[in-house]
Symmetry: C2
Subunit: 113 residues, 2 copies
């Protein structure tokens, strides 16, 4: 089972930031594979979604990049900047809070007419 794409919307940026917080530095392709692995294939980040997101994080100053060559192939590593670390904390706690709220909404049986 793969989650319907609407669910990913709005959480992708937070997922990426969190992964970078836990792994110091990662490159794009690695991120897609890591998410796939950690979620047992339930979340598959497409490249068309990931790269624009990474570029946006960079232009917002939340991540810095360094390019490496593996043989002749380029690899672009991303790391959190100091402001990126703060942003990650905010985003993660907001999402955690949101999920608690959603859980409450989904479990509730209100017949409070």
């Amino acid at each position: 089972m793969i989650y319907s794409s609407e669910l990913i919307k709005g959480t992708l940026k937070t997922i990426v930031l969190k992964l970078l917080a836990d792994n110091k530095k990662m490159y794009g392709y690695e991120i897609t594979q890591k998410v796939k692995e950690l979620t047992f294939d339930k979340i598959q980040i497409t490249e068309g979604a990931l790269y624009p997101t990474l570029h946006a994080l960079e232009s917002d100053g939340l991540v810095t990049t360094e390019t490496e060559y593996i043989g002749k192939r380029v690899r672009k590593y991303y790391s959190l900047s100091p402001s990126g670390k703060n942003k990650t904390k905010e985003k993660v706690s907001e999402l955690a809070d949101f999920m608690d709220t959603m859980k409450f909404l989904l479990d509730i049986k209100t017949k409070t007419v």
Copy 2:
């Protein structure tokens, strides 16, 4: 604190379906107020988001409508159709599953280099 709007994306339809499942019939304005109340103002559904969503649910055959007049003012009630009830179960369990996955992603400290 109000959640950043990106988070709502993808969950709105499920929230609405779940509310209708728990409350038999509701009208648009009532839904916005109920969500606001149940989430202690953290989720505020705008009308510009809600009404198109309700119309989409209707044209997908997931809800049926009945119009009532309160004095001279129109009130449009929405109820789940049989297929809407099935869809609600699917959507709710998918979202619950997704939240578990996200919780796992957010809590994890992977330094599995």
